[in-house]
């Protein structure tokens, strides 16, 4: 018996506009609405709408035996609401078939787990609420941004109490001789199941499908099903995890990717022992065969399968540090719009755009990059962050002023009615004063002015 477990990742960031030094302190609109809506419309037409249609057909044709799982970031869902309500509607229709499962992730598709666990938890809860609101599901499976994973994360997610399973990359260096086609138990999270991506079979579709230099090209559903069936007897589940944009966007329609998808289920079902499962069904159906000890962080990116796509150079590290070191104060400032903007900057794509690995070769990073160079990505991001810092300072001032007023009126009241005991008002944090024009400090970490 082999179960095929599809999980598709859907995500679109809020791309920054070319936010200039001259905008800092004057204009706090960081995001490129025109570009974001254009990208959303383009991907909707090339991928989301046609692929959702194919999936719906398949679910109906196979009478509920064809199943898939999705993880959709909160920022993608928001942008569907704004720019592509038809896409959202088609996902809801898929949800209503009962054959589609939604996973949880951080709402802002962030790396917050690495810097601020409270923020991570908050973003996961936000996502959970959004999925419940839109699709009526309470996810039982967690996937972290870019499949960033280690033991500690599994244990933290287990503590959150919602989840039975978690998905991660089946990286060679952690699997060794073991197979990704079984379920495992994360070390330190014994109540959870761990599903690892079969990157070979996943990448055959996601990356190699249209590669004419590949010896298996052209790939058809029959051939692929034979590879899947060959696992019979040596595995329980084949985890095909990939970006949903594979269909129609990374692999264009003229490569035959939709025809492949259309015929895949019937070819898989040709072998009577095969079926399709969602991630949580897989977790229920199959036992964990062993404990998996993953101490260092892994991810599904690049050859390295580590964090280096987002945190591999000093620009990325300093940008991430400056961003997250503000987090607590942004929340304390009590300005909802400020918090939302800051959270939109936590989306991991902003760090990805600053990646200099292989930049000269113009590879996959470049394809997804709205900037000409990683340096421009850094400049737009840091300029935006500098404006956030100014707003944070202003919000603190405003809060202090309000607190002073409240204190004064309380004092007035207590003078009249001494019986009422006033709660002690917290001392307002000292307002940072800074020279008018030196908004950016000279510190080596590109530290802002606070």
């Amino acid at each position: 018996m082999v179960s095929v477990c599809f999980y598709f990742q859907v995500h679109q960031p809020y791309r920054l506009r070319k936010y200039s030094v001259f905008d800092i302190g004057h204009d706090s609109h960081y995001f490129d609405d025109v570009k974001n809506s254009e990208v959303m419309r383009k991907v909707a037409n090339k991928c989301y709408i046609p692929t959702n249609k194919v999936l719906l057909e398949l679910i109906r044709r196979h009478k509920g035996k064809f199943k898939v799982s999705f993880s959709i970031s909160g920022v993608a869902l928001e942008q569907f609401e704004r720019y592509a309500p038809d896409v959202l509607e088609s996902f809801k229709e898929l949800a209503r078939t009962g054959c589609v499962e939604f996973l949880d992730e951080t709402y802002y598709h962030s790396l917050s787990y690495l810097y601020d666990k409270e923020e991570f938890k908050a973003q996961v809860e936000l996502h959970r609420a959004k999925i419940k609101e839109l699709f009526g599901q309470e996810p039982r499976v967690f996937r972290n941004t870019e499949l960033v994973y280690n033991n500690e994360l599994a244990s933290f997610v287990q503590e959150m109490g919602h989840y039975d399973a978690i998905v991660a990359e089946g990286a060679d260096h952690i699997l060794g001789w073991r197979s990704p086609n079984f379920l495992y138990t994360p070390k330190t999270a014994e109540n959870m199941k761990l599903l690892l991506k079969n990157y070979k079979l996943s990448d055959d579709i996601a990356f190699r499908f249209s590669n004419k230099g590949w010896k298996e090209h052209p790939l058809d559903a029959g051939k692929y099903s034979n590879w899947v069936s060959a696992v019979n007897g040596n595995g329980n589940v084949i985890n095909l995890f990939m970006d949903y944009e594979t269909f129609g966007e990374h692999q264009w329609e003229d490569t035959g990717i939709f025809e492949f998808l259309r015929h895949l289920p019937e070819q898989i079902f040709n072998h009577p022992d095969n079926d399709f499962v969602t991630v949580s069904e897989a977790a229920k159906l199959y036992p964990a065969v062993a404990e998996m000890d993953i101490h260092n962080f892994i991810s599904w990116a690049d050859i390295e399968r580590d964090l280096s796509a987002w945190l591999g150079n000093p620009m990325q590290n300093s940008a991430a540090y400056e961003l997250y070191q503000m987090g607590r104060r942004v929340k304390e400032a009590g300005d909802a719009k400020l918090l939302e903007d800051w959270r939109k900057l936590t989306t991991s794509d902003h760090l990805y755009y600053m990646c200099t690995k292989w930049f000269s070769d113009g590879d996959v990073h470049k394809y997804f990059n709205p900037y000409d160079t990683p340096y421009e990505g850094f400049i737009a991001f840091m300029n935006s962050l500098n404006d956030i810092a100014i707003r944070l300072r202003d919000a603190k001032k405003e809060k202090a002023r309000l607190e002073q007023e409240a204190k004064a009126s309380l004092e007035l009241q207590s003078a009249v009615q001494p019986a009422i005991v006033a709660e002690p008002v917290l001392e307002a944090p000292a307002v940072v004063s800074l020279p008018a024009r030196h908004f950016i400090s000279e510190s080596p970490s590109s530290l802002l002015f606070d």
Partner: protein
């Protein structure tokens, strides 16, 4: 493989980048086993002051098979028809009256190019070579002559076009005709950037299949040390180096400086170079109240450029039109981050720089401020940029030239 190469300048006789390019290219070609005979016209002033130095240049490659042949001529690089006339008058005036009549040189630069062609026709008949390789238009008539005399295949190497020099405003029809004829008669055309290639296709009617783009490389970095002294204690330094002419965009540099200073008064701007726009630039700087923020050191030779590069915190090249642009490479080799215009050929090969549209003064100022203040950005550009420039070596364009030569010889059947 034997190449008859025609150029109008060669170090130390050179006025611009093309002589330097010819020097590095021929040296790398010789290292790859190509036998180059370099023929250049030779002016009397050069004869007087620099004749021995040609032999020194020749001695640079004692074991390499490069020969320098000189042909008497007034033709120098960057001569315009106007300046050539003036030089020619001066030259004639310097001669005793009985010698004037015997002056071998034609009355104008076009005549000069024809004279050069006549001499090259003769040289071609007794030289052994497989292909003709000509650098820029003044040598094109000579290349055509050599081709006619020997029926050898010919390639012309375009470093700049008349449209770059004049900004497209005042194209000299005679120059244009000379360029165009050379390109039409050539079997293949080498363009030093895709920018040039586009111009050749649009303005000169050269078909796509005939053009090979071969980007220039960088000169090995000079090892210089320099100290900016007290300036660096308080201020950061922004650097512009280049002819102060419309083509190089010095006006955009000055306007961007104003915007930078509004944010950060502790910046000094160096504008090194001379040219017809210099007086206007000095006036504009004064008008904007930035006289104490600007330094005008005048023309800078290569060593001086390296020294300025060493002390600068960022180098800026806002060229309106730049066929290639070697200067940013000099600054980057001295560990200085560079901001270059997208309208430059060099931007086609550099990744670890910031790129701007030359007219976008706000973006230029934004990027200058970012490089000056975001130290991490500065460090990254510096490290990656210097590394990138070190890898732009001349053996790459030289081996591409060898491929072109092979193509030419196969064409011949």
């Amino acid at each position: 493989m034997k190449v008859l190469m025609l150029g109008w300048e060669f170090p130390p006789f050179f006025a611009g980048g093309v002589g330097v390019v010819c020097y590095h290219l021929t040296r790398a070609l010789c290292q790859q086993g190509v036998d180059v005979t370099y023929v250049m016209p030779f002016g009397p002033s050069m004869l007087r002051s620099d004749y021995m130095r040609i032999l020194i240049a020749d001695n640079l490659f004692p074991r390499l098979r490069l020969q320098i042949k000189t042909v008497g001529s007034l033709l120098g690089a960057y001569a315009t028809p106007g300046s050539y006339d003036a030089d020619y008058q001066k030259y004639l005036a310097s001669l005793p009256s009985d010698k004037r009549a015997k002056a071998l040189y034609g009355p104008n630069i076009f005549e000069e190019a024809r004279m050069f062609a006549a001499k090259v026709r003769l040289i071609a008949q007794f030289e052994q070579f497989d292909v003709i390789h000509a650098h820029d238009h003044w040598t094109f008539p000579a290349a055509i002559a050599a081709k006619e005399a020997t029926a050898k295949p010919m390639v012309v190497h375009v470093h700049i076009t008349e449209f770059d020099k004049s900004g497209g405003m005042s194209v000299d029809q005679r120059v244009y005709d000379m360029e165009r004829e050379g390109m039409q008669r050539a079997d293949l055309v080498i363009a030093i950037s895709n920018r040039i290639k586009d111009q050749l296709m649009v303005h000169y009617g050269v078909p796509d299949w005939k053009i090979r783009v071969i980007h220039n490389a960088a000169e090995p970095a000079l090892n210089v040390s320099h100290d900016a002294g007290k300036i660096k204690e308080t201020d950061k330094i922004v650097l512009f180096v280049g002819r102060v002419t419309l083509q190089k965009g010095p006006d955009y540099y000055v306007e961007a400086a104003k915007k930078v200073l509004e944010y950060d008064p502790n910046v000094k701007f160096i504008l090194a170079g001379t040219g017809d726009m210099l007086p206007r630039m000095i006036e504009r700087v004064a008008q904007l109240g930035m006289t104490d923020k600007f330094i005008f050191p005048g023309f800078a030779n290569r060593e001086e450029v390296a020294k300025l590069g060493k002390i600068a915190d960022v180098f800026v090249m806002p060229s309106v039109s730049e066929p290639f642009g070697l200067v940013p490479l000099e600054a980057m080799a001295q560990d200085t981050p560079a901001i270059i215009s997208k309208q430059s050929g060099v931007s086609e090969v550099l990744h670890h720089v910031l790129k701007v549209d030359f007219w976008d003064v706000n973006d230029l100022a934004n990027k200058i401020i970012a490089v000056l203040h975001y130290q991490t950005l500065n460090n990254q550009l510096k490290q990656h940029g210097a590394f990138e420039v070190r890898n732009l070596t001349w053996d790459v364009p030289a081996s591409k030239c060898v491929s072109v030569y092979n193509e030419l010889m196969n064409m011949k059947k």
